[in-house]
Symmetry: C2
């Protein structure tokens, strides 16, 4: 980030017509945002929501409450504006893009083989990287992929240790039997692959949409575009970057705490404090898109408020 | 609320393209909103933010970090669009109105006399009632009044019991000595007045802007306009209604948990769960205006999403 912009934003914040720190976390958010945008008085004019969709070979193991064809059906729903994330993107003035990643070619079942080859994971990372509009000023990266909480749980376990059951949750709503199956699948995946390298964990246990989110979040860093992390799957993808290079997520903020059980563990491991906690567990970028409203409010206050001097208000 | 609209909204919610309950609290919010608006597919098109401003005789006791003239200065700031709540109202497309209530005539110092006469409190309630646009579809009632956390603490103690120190906090930022003074002032006010009746507690310990907020929230109920409660002061004013008639706040939602210490105690007493907890403690309606973004997102998802049938998505 731009330390000059941060200093300027701190200075401006101290002069705004409010008691010191009375806007709480909104003040920290605005200063953080100013730093990445390189100006002490930034605006949010072009937020971009990108949903990446892909399919998972591990679905053959019965890890989801929904069949894999729902991925493609939901992609159509995104394209026609009918999903939750469409409504939230509209509400907060964000452009929305949908990228499919070889829906007809699921990843390999990671209990039997690496999910992706080197070439496949690189292509997915590049798709994510290239999806980011360099002219945008906030990134929300979301996902759709039946089976991908299983993939995310496996990656989280590979990156942070712990048992499979520490990271496996109910996803879109599997029953107790499905939960036990998911846990077993994740344990078998972890046993099969050597995942000491974060990018190799992504390749062996991940999915194309997870790799694409990681690529998009990395591209946002390159372009100095602050990013809002969504729920468990997005955070697991992002964690690959942080484990690859410490500080790689400094340009991100956790949008919300998902109801997916292990999200709290994952946020704690990354030392991220979510902006919202409203029991969402939908994915698609929906929690992050909702948090975009909070970030817009924070930046609007910071850049739009009068100073004590401008307003002629007595400064205590 | 309209039970038919609630039933219709629940039915619609169950058909939307998402796993059951995956939008968490957003689903509950949308159904609640639908009930008060009397339609299973509501929209938010005309939210109204109203800031009520008044002055407090109890300021003579040194209970605030800011001098009383700041109330009028901040009113000018609201009128010129320079305050935090202006930016938040703009961000979420709300109309904003400012009402001053006899700024040159502070209430009586409640350690010496009732803050208001019968006629004065009725006039303030009526001002609040009349400020609500019947054509609006969400109400945010905010306040500005140097000294009013002292008044709110006294009302809360009168309504819910407990010692003065349970309800007194640092407001805009008093030091330890100021905090001790505030606590003593509240204790003396409680000792002086018989406040077994909630409206009499409002009259004797309140302020014109608190009465106006109560009047506005009551008017919103009359017009079936859902209201978002702001922080400690707004919630204390609203609590007068709940203590007068149980269920009087069923058309409201707690916008946020303020950093003002006793707000949590007050929300717990009213069994309200705040939407946001971002350490705001500014008043002005700012926390509620920020929560308006969440409510807009909830209603947009509910009314804008496609159903499984419309989108051709397999319903698990």
């Amino acid at each position: 980030p731009d330390m000059g912009a941060i200093a300027g934003a701190r200075d401006r914040n101290a002069q705004l017509t409010k008691p010191p720190a009375a806007l709480g976390r909104l003040e920290e958010l605005a200063i953080w945002y100013a730093g990445w945008r390189g100006t002490d008085r930034p605006e949010i004019a072009n937020p971009q929501v990108i949903v990446f969709a892909a399919n998972h070979g591990v679905c053959a193991q019965g890890v989801s409450a929904f069949p894999p064809e729902v991925t493609a059906q939901m992609v159509e729903n995104f394209q026609h504006g009918g999903a939750a994330v469409n409504q939230l993107a509209n509400t907060f003035g964000a452009r929305m893009d949908v990228h499919t990643l070889d829906l007809d070619l699921p990843t390999q079942d990671f209990t039997k083989a690496p999910a992706m080859s080197d070439a496949e994971v690189v292509l997915a990372l590049a798709t994510g990287w290239n999806a980011v509009d360099p002219a945008s000023d906030v990134l929300v990266a979301g996902e759709m992929g039946i089976g991908n909480t299983t993939s995310a749980a496996a990656i989280a376990a590979a990156l942070f240790g712990g048992a499979a059951e520490d990271w496996v949750g109910r996803g879109t709503g599997v029953d107790d039997e499905g939960l036990a199956r998911k846990t077993d699948v994740v344990a078998r995946g972890l046993a099969l692959h050597d995942t000491s390298d974060p990018l190799d964990a992504l390749r062996c246990l991940g999915g194309r949409e997870l790799a694409a989110m990681a690529g998009a979040i990395a591209a946002a860093r390159h372009h100095r575009i602050p990013a809002i992390l969504d729920g468990f799957i997005c955070t697991a993808a992002a964690a690959v970057l942080e484990k690859t290079a410490e500080g790689a997520l400094d340009h991100t903020v956790a949008g919300h705490l998902s109801d997916e059980l292990a999200h709290k563990r994952l946020l704690d491991a990354l030392e991220l404090e979510p902006l919202l906690a409203l029991r969402l567990r939908l994915g698609e970028g929906s929690g992050a898109a909702l948090a975009l409203g909070v970030l817009k409010g924070a930046v609007a206050c910071h850049s739009g408020m009068a100073t004590f001097a401008e307003a002629g208000v007595t400064d205590s």
